[in-house]
């Protein structure tokens, strides 16, 4: 009996030591991780600071950490001389239409694959899996040949159409819709709803989470996409932001780092703002889709 009462006490005493040691350990870990974390995104901070320096200061030796005089001249150049508005519009139009297309088409295909019986379903799903693993960008040469033959080169069509149904999106929607109980759909059917009504009024309203994920990964993909827009957009007025930035960097301006850094900041600003607003969805989305 006494043994029983003393043991917990002894344990708490011992635990207190362990807890204290753990707390110190934890503090150091946080400290260490904080330092590593700052070093981790230091290149991005360095980039932002650099974009605010004059060209002379960027070339200065030894380098300055904090800009001696802040200047917006690098940014002004993008707006006044480099047609930033056009590139930005192109990127936004392409990204938004790609996202919308994916929401509609991936959900439709995902719904059919999850809740309908038809011949060839397995083959179709297999095809989705293959495209998931070997993406179409590996086919950019024949794709360019086809797109140029049908006269789509240098149009929004060329930039958008190939990416309207991302296999990862189909997979995501199918997995989620499979989890929706059949009873709900059956009930709607008994009430006399047609398939499209069931899809748009019953299934889609339940799909908020995967649609959010799908929108984020598709937007990210489209915004950062490079190889295909590089070959498909051939005149300045069709360039997306990454293409414009990269082509500016290969010309005689290759050492014009101030302008290049300002351009970089402008390219990533929308993504960072979205990320800060929707951080939880971003992390969930990225983690769930990457695993397949």
């Amino acid at each position: 009996m006494t043994a029983l009462t003393t043991t917990p006490k002894a344990r708490t005493k011992k635990n207190a030591g362990v807890v204290r040691r753990r707390a110190t350990l934890r503090m150091f870990t946080y400290l260490g991780l904080g330092v590593v974390g700052i070093l981790w995104i230091l290149p991005l901070i360095w980039m932002v600071l650099g974009s605010l320096k004059t060209q002379a200061e960027i070339l200065a030796k030894p380098p300055t950490w904090w800009p001696r005089e802040f200047t917006l001249e690098n940014f002004v150049k993008w707006f006044q001389e480099l047609n930033f508005g056009q590139f930005f519009t192109n990127s936004v139009v392409v990204a938004i239409l790609t996202v919308l297309g994916n929401i509609v088409f991936c959900s439709m295909l995902g719904y059919a694959l999850a809740k309908m019986e038809f011949r060839g379903k397995k083959i179709l799903f297999g095809a989705v899996m293959v495209t998931l693993m070997v993406p179409s960008v590996a086919l950019f040469v024949p794709m360019f040949v086809i797109v140029s033959k049908i006269g789509l080169v240098n149009t929004y069509g060329a930039l958008i159409l190939p990416f309207l149904t991302q296999p990862i999106g189909v997979f995501l929607m199918r997995q989620f819709i499979m989890g929706i109980p059949d009873e709900i759909i059956e009930a709607a059917r008994i009430d006399g709803a047609g398939e499209f009504r069931i899809f748009s009024r019953v299934v889609m309203p339940l799909c908020g989470a995967p649609v959010a994920t799908l929108s984020i990964i598709t937007f990210l993909f489209s915004w950062n996409n490079f190889l295909w827009p590089l070959v498909a957009a051939q005149s300045q007025d069709m360039y997306t932001l990454p293409v414009a930035l990269s082509l500016y960097s290969t010309g005689q301006n290759s050492t014009d780092y101030g302008v290049l850094l300002a351009g970089s900041v402008l390219v990533i600003a929308p993504i960072v703002i979205l990320f800060l607003l929707l951080q939880r969805y971003f992390i969930q989305g990225v983690a769930t889709t990457g695993l397949k």
Binding site: I58, I146, V231, I283, A287
Partner: protein
């Protein structure tokens, strides 16, 4: 009794499946848009690419059938073998370091801190466009004005031509992309770790296991299927590296970073050899297919020791 029970179980599902049998008419409406896209932008380019790989084609005139000539040329094309070797070197460095570091970070996240803020910081580089990442590092690793070389000089070491030397260029590009993808990979591994029940660790701790033993004997074996998926997916991505190379070196110096996609791009868009470029694309597709089949087999045998 048993028959009665069986009936009640079997009946509804049979009724449902008989109703579903003739969904085809409706299903086709749901399938049509995506399937048209799939055929137009996947199947058709694949077939077209395969056909073009047997032709001489400069995109201005009609393709001329040349049989296996392109493939014969491939076998003795030093530049193409160089591009494969360079790509393999890149993939090896990238995958090895990225996986080890990401695993380390994931363990730290699992065992020590579960803060969303840290995850956000980790994910940050992944959100930044490849082109921007490449530009920023091109600037930071610049021979003359890069901060890295100024630091090296300051601590008394010689300056390095990160993007300008044949030995350093591939490791440098690999490390730039490790920086971009490591946090992302760590998050994927971390997500996989969430499926390992905490009770296993508690039991191990009661038995007096150290952190290292727990990692070695619990985390690693239970994570194996997940880890394999992550590695293979990143591998497929790595084989197609293009953006970073395009912005930093364009394949140089002297083809030392002329990865497969860069070689294909140059063949097609600066030399207008669309036929030959298609043949190299077919080779790349084959490499990726082999890895994917490997992955499919893994997913089939994907049950971890937990299930």
């Amino acid at each position: 009794m048993t028959t009665h029970r069986m009936q009640t179980i079997v009946e509804p599902s049979r009724r449902r499946s008989s109703r579903r049998r003739n969904d085809f008419a409706v299903a086709i409406l749901f399938l049509a848009p995506a399937t048209v896209g799939f055929v137009a932008f996947y199947v058709w380019p694949s077939i077209r690419g395969l056909y073009l790989s047997f032709t001489d084609y400069n995109i201005f005139q009609a393709p001329v059938w040349v049989g296996l000539k392109n493939y014969e040329k491939l076998l003795t094309d030093d530049k193409m073998w160089n591009s494969i070797v360079v790509t393999l070197e890149y993939v090896a460095i990238n995958i090895v370091f990225q996986t080890i570091l990401a695993l380390l970070i994931a363990v730290l996240m699992q065992r020590l801190i579960r803060s969303t803020f840290v995850r956000g910081i980790l994910l940050m580089p992944y959100l930044v466009s490849n082109v921007v990442v490449a530009l920023v590092w091109l600037w930071m690793l610049d021979y003359q004005m890069g901060i890295t070389n100024q630091l090296l000089e300051w601590i008394g070491l010689p300056r390095l031509m990160f993007f300008g030397s044949e030995q350093l260029v591939i490791p440098t590009i690999a490390f730039v992309n490790i920086w971009r993808f490591m946090g992302y990979t760590a998050l994927l591994i971390f997500a996989g770790m969430q499926s390992i029940p905490n009770t296993v660790y508690e039991a191990a701790r009661v038995d007096g296991a150290s952190e290292w033993q727990m990692f070695r004997r619990i985390t690693l074996p239970l994570l194996r299927p997940n880890l394999a998926m992550v590695v293979i997916t990143s591998m497929i991505g790595s084989f197609q590296v293009f953006d970073t190379v395009s912005v930093t070196t364009q394949g140089g110096p002297v083809d030392a970073s002329n990865v497969i996609q860069m070689y294909i791009y140059k063949l097609a868009f600066s030399q207008f050899k669309f036929g030959y470029a298609s043949a190299v694309s077919v080779v790349l597709m084959l490499i990726l297919l082999v890895i994917s089949i490997f992955q499919l087999r893994l997913t089939r045998a994907n049950s971890s020791d937990l299930v």
